[in-house]
Assembly symmetry: D2
Homo-oligomer: 455 residues x 4
Amino acid sequence: MENKDWKEECAVVGVYNVTNAASMTYYSLFSMQHRGQEATGISSSNGEKIVTIKKKGLVTEVFDNESLSKLKGFSAIGHNRYSTAGEDSMADAQPIFARYDLGQVAIVHNGNLTNAKEIKQELIRDGAIFQSYMDTENLIHLIARAKQENLVDRIKEAILRLKGAFCFIILSRKKMFVIRDCNGFRPLSLGEIKNADGSVGYIVASETCAFDLVGAKYLRDVAPGEMLVFSQKGMQSYNIMPSNPYPCVFEYVYFARPDSHIYGNVVYNIRKAMGEELALENPIEADLVIPVPDSGVAAAIGYSQKSGIPFELGIIRNHYIGRTFIEPTQQIRELKVRLKLNPIKELIENKRIIVIDDSIVRGTTSKQIVKILRDCGAKEIHMKISSPPTISPCYYGVDTPDISELISARMSNKEVCEFIGADSLSFLSLEGLKRSVGLKDYKFCQACFDGKYIL
Amino acid sequence: MENKDWKEECAVVGVYNVTNAASMTYYSLFSMQHRGQEATGISSSNGEKIVTIKKKGLVTEVFDNESLSKLKGFSAIGHNRYSTAGEDSMADAQPIFARYDLGQVAIVHNGNLTNAKEIKQELIRDGAIFQSYMDTENLIHLIARAKQENLVDRIKEAILRLKGAFCFIILSRKKMFVIRDCNGFRPLSLGEIKNADGSVGYIVASETCAFDLVGAKYLRDVAPGEMLVFSQKGMQSYNIMPSNPYPCVFEYVYFARPDSHIYGNVVYNIRKAMGEELALENPIEADLVIPVPDSGVAAAIGYSQKSGIPFELGIIRNHYIGRTFIEPTQQIRELKVRLKLNPIKELIENKRIIVIDDSIVRGTTSKQIVKILRDCGAKEIHMKISSPPTISPCYYGVDTPDISELISARMSNKEVCEFIGADSLSFLSLEGLKRSVGLKDYKFCQACFDGKYIL
Amino acid sequence: MENKDWKEECAVVGVYNVTNAASMTYYSLFSMQHRGQEATGISSSNGEKIVTIKKKGLVTEVFDNESLSKLKGFSAIGHNRYSTAGEDSMADAQPIFARYDLGQVAIVHNGNLTNAKEIKQELIRDGAIFQSYMDTENLIHLIARAKQENLVDRIKEAILRLKGAFCFIILSRKKMFVIRDCNGFRPLSLGEIKNADGSVGYIVASETCAFDLVGAKYLRDVAPGEMLVFSQKGMQSYNIMPSNPYPCVFEYVYFARPDSHIYGNVVYNIRKAMGEELALENPIEADLVIPVPDSGVAAAIGYSQKSGIPFELGIIRNHYIGRTFIEPTQQIRELKVRLKLNPIKELIENKRIIVIDDSIVRGTTSKQIVKILRDCGAKEIHMKISSPPTISPCYYGVDTPDISELISARMSNKEVCEFIGADSLSFLSLEGLKRSVGLKDYKFCQACFDGKYIL
Amino acid sequence: MENKDWKEECAVVGVYNVTNAASMTYYSLFSMQHRGQEATGISSSNGEKIVTIKKKGLVTEVFDNESLSKLKGFSAIGHNRYSTAGEDSMADAQPIFARYDLGQVAIVHNGNLTNAKEIKQELIRDGAIFQSYMDTENLIHLIARAKQENLVDRIKEAILRLKGAFCFIILSRKKMFVIRDCNGFRPLSLGEIKNADGSVGYIVASETCAFDLVGAKYLRDVAPGEMLVFSQKGMQSYNIMPSNPYPCVFEYVYFARPDSHIYGNVVYNIRKAMGEELALENPIEADLVIPVPDSGVAAAIGYSQKSGIPFELGIIRNHYIGRTFIEPTQQIRELKVRLKLNPIKELIENKRIIVIDDSIVRGTTSKQIVKILRDCGAKEIHMKISSPPTISPCYYGVDTPDISELISARMSNKEVCEFIGADSLSFLSLEGLKRSVGLKDYKFCQACFDGKYIL
């Protein structure tokens, strides 16, 4: 399920050479709302001035016609944030805007810098001040202090100081710059927009579902280590770092929308393949396959097709979840998961059920799901997870719980199974994961599963 | 899809003899949010005084701990409204509260009175004033003017004047009254709550999904023509009208949540059966079955299981739809349906697709869906509707468009197929619908499909 | 001071035959905001339909261009409310709108019906239902039930049933009706508007300061017992009750804005005369005369001019008082009056001070004012009140505290003086009040001062 | 009048060693709301962490119990801002918070740095980035880049780089620093708070009216060129710049609340003296003296007392001015000043009127005031201004219009008189202003009147 255990991990978008670029940015952010619901913001430039509006709330809550009308211009960048740390949360929404010696700049960022602390300390030692708690501020300082003369070279110089996972989109008054780290940890795709006057515009976004909504054509992914520069002269590409791709495999498991292309594959198909692998690896006799909606659906369909065991939408999800709930009464407190999920008793009663979920983090949600199915009279409950056990935290842009909270980091699968109360529990193997992705050269970051960090 | 063509048709709930009844009412309304998103309200009584709070917005937006803390007492009633007519929309939220000769009363209503106009004219001729545009106000006037001495008799007398579809829940300071029309057009179920002190509380709600969330036990449906009276003496039942059940079959087709029991059947199963019937009635060769989410999912699963054609979630729904959108740019305006729905091109390209939707009202949404699938490169698109053509408006509580807007009322299926641009189009037959519901004695209101109104 | 002891007592306005009547109504309500800050509302008619918007908040908070754009038409009525009783406060804002046998009607009311309870009981016995806690609802019921055929006669018949203080403005789709009770307790003035096309429009408002703002010409007061009917034929006047004027003298003392004409006199001048009388009646040696701002200013100027003792604005008022304050710290709690009022120590130190206030209700505010002046080092503090002691509650439209809370109802002036801690205390005499008003035939309701109720 | 021609010029406050310092800061900001209504903010420290909340709106709108409960600790600083430049107005509210090599810091500022541009350019050349449009950001950079080791020395070093008008209050986690420029352009006073436990707390604020509200005792002004350091050791004073006091005389004329002490004098008395001087310098026969409220009141009282011509509050001010108004109708547009000011015709008709206002900036408001008095039938209108003609802009913290908009910079008094339509116009002379202030050694910045800038 889209549980709160995984903090999602931001969406970025940049639009260049499009009339009313902020409007297209708005729709793109809307389509990527699943990557961050806490805060959102847009900066746009009309060539003379960069204007920024950012606020806590969903895209459709933060922006209206009036606010968008202030975001004029042919280029714009936007950001959805999954959560804001600190009391002064406004300071931690993006884009970050600053003036410096070459003019004005606004930046959005998806990722996590592993040397942020060192760079920050160095900058601070050197007299820099930080007005937010975001890593992103580092980059602006580095650009402002870079020795090179023009902005392209400055950005290169600054970027080369950074380690970790990053997709940056940088807006100056006239240009837009896009950089993806050399490992390509986080996804970033490039699309093309045909303007009414025949000219060509560009869009760069974390997920391709944004392109579909705004009618852009997917061109390709931004390459690991690549910098794209958009200017009046069009788009130019620079390889500023030697590419060594290790994209995050968890985008396939959970983060991305199933209709997005990530690293060239459509997510839905990979998820289905995970379910199929799961069926091959861990076959079990059962009457039904049901997903934990929405994130387990594709894998459950795959499992069902491969195993021949019927697929049923045996748990119904309520999508009207609001930001806040009143203090529940005693009757309700125990089964908080029911606010989102309700099983269909008639399907489940006296049945042997295979339940498909994408991952287990703390185990508490799975435990509640098993309980509500058990209460429906399920004869057997077999929990199957379409990814390997999560044993290590992510340092490349996903806000995972502390390792002490990762249930698979401290329990065997058998113990986890007991904890959640299922009759059986199985995870997809690392090999199965690899097969699901189906690439000849499987080279993904899967540190959350195997603890091998390449940085 | 849950399109805007069908206005949903309100939810009612009543809770009696439960500590903090308003809190349970709040959760019940939350679970029935799909039946009305425009306005919501709760009245509660502590035995001395009835307090009402109602407002435009979703349940989680309108109520918070502070407002719920004002709704004290052991009994409460609540309402979700699908839309509010008129500029002074506040006056058209429910519950309606009034003082009259027997004290205070609050009422919620799901349904539509077919003789509302006549009764209103008569009441108005007799000096009554109407402060809202809701039929419900009629009932309060009738009760206030009834000749009988006690409230039970008054309500009976008043109810007998009414024709049409109605589920009323009436709260007085000490008691709660529940009445369902003799045809039982709209669903209404009765549940039981075990209090911590061993005493028994009651809940009455439009859908049983409310019971699941609050931990109530489903007892039975309120019978057509029945009045339930809840008081310190417990629950008493009166048959105040001769029962002649004609419940709305469209609850199965579209309105109800799949996990609810309606008229004793779980909705999901009926919808699956509709899909199975569709597969039997209109078999066609194809590569995939995909639903228009979320409402077509169960039928698509049924179709797939019966036909053996694989089920895929080929269209992804964005659930973050907000109340308002900015004016779309030219690029986006054409494909408004994309704000909600995005197809997965890789699944659809070069495939023969069976698309399952629950119904066609104006045809415009279907036309857009066909177009976005066609744009994905579908080889063939076969639209299959899990209900018969909608040819007549509903007068029993569903806000249907004017008959001139019902595409099947003025076009043959072939013409509709051409209009929406599909390769083929088929509807479930009336017989198939009957078989799907699967009752020996099928006696449902299906006036929207056959134009036969029993009133 | 404009203390919270006196609840102010509503403003009404009606505009007829003016393009965009709601806009003029908005400005009129704004100019009369001092008469009620709790809630506000406007109903307008375009001849076909009456639309109402009402809400809690100040005029400038409740209405904006968007909401006013919904209030179309050539006629409109509006209301400011000083407070709303009951939890369901929305139901107690005005205008009240209803449909009845002659069509649509909206009503605003300033006043208090002394036989409201009896009429309500009678109506309720006769089957009426009440959806608010406002007396005003009575009138709509009476009109709806009146036997006469046309609306003019119906209103007459209904009005004749009412006792007490009332200024009603009634809007039908085509006409506007204005009625003032036969005693003329509450003020109501008639003005004329020259339209751009040469035609004549009308405005009726509680205070003439509304006319000044919207550029209307004051014609005359609505006469006690008069009904004005505005229609396409212009304005017609009916004497529907024998006139017996007893207007409220307290409008002069406190309620009205100093720049308004009340009963033909400008309020500022009357207040100055009260100060002059006070100087004549209770001369005392002192160094300074200072008002409790803003309500004591005019009387203090009068006192100063008559006595020759210099006037100083020795207490400064903070006008930024918001709706809510955070819980004050210990340091601040003791002197809550300081949030509004701050004395200028340098003026007061070692001086013999005459402080002028309009009235004393509970005495607690006066006590705090004396204390803060004493803390400034005043040598003597002589409190002088520009009205007689308030000994009786008002039943004619002013929300006074219970008689047990009126300090002068249970203490002698000497005791009150001790309670508030002043060196001396004097009130204007009833004779002095009469002289201040300065009419040959002084015939005012002064029941709050003498306990003589004419009804 | 408090016209929009003068932008007011911010308030600052700092509180140290007081339980719940943020609450006292809140009340202080409330009492200084007249110095800035656009935005407000508070930072507080509990010794471990600085928390900041800032937002557009009035003090009572921005803060409530919930937000103040997040501002824990024994020290706090606050700011009211008169206006925010730029679209991204949030970034331009204060306090500004930053982390730098010595830890955390928050700063508030009242004033204007005359070398802000040069310093900013130098900083930017040196790699600094600016995230707001506020001069204040300079200081944080300078402190962060200062060579000295401890914060006290760093602040000194940084401050010595700055030229212009400034009152800074700087909050670190443990300490609070207060600095006033060597000319003391803007007011800043020091007060003492007796805590319940006998310990002593401190408050520093732009105006002493803040002390009155929170019960603090005025100790003295912060001296020009002084730095105060508040720490666990108590308060220490440093003279960091040679003092050369030139405080702003316009605080006396208009900005400060009349009940505040500015530079040791109570403002009300100085304003009265200005009115008295005006009467001596420019005697004229007339029937009445009336102020433009509220800012002209004290001078009008002084004029009246000196001349013997009666004082009347002949223009009434509506204090319910909201943030936004609907588009006025044609009838109202012409006399926008009426939204705030309404004359009392009866006082003015056929009278020779002396009108006292504090200053004339563009002349448009004065012109409207003359017109509405003329419309009342005034026989003669003599406008008298309690300050000399404003001929030069302020560079020391007041946001004056461009010199081309200052009517007295481009017109003779005679021409201004004609423009506004008065029968006569006179200004206080520079000598008269000096006499009003009444100090032996008059040494004030009066560059707005004489164009002599000391920097």
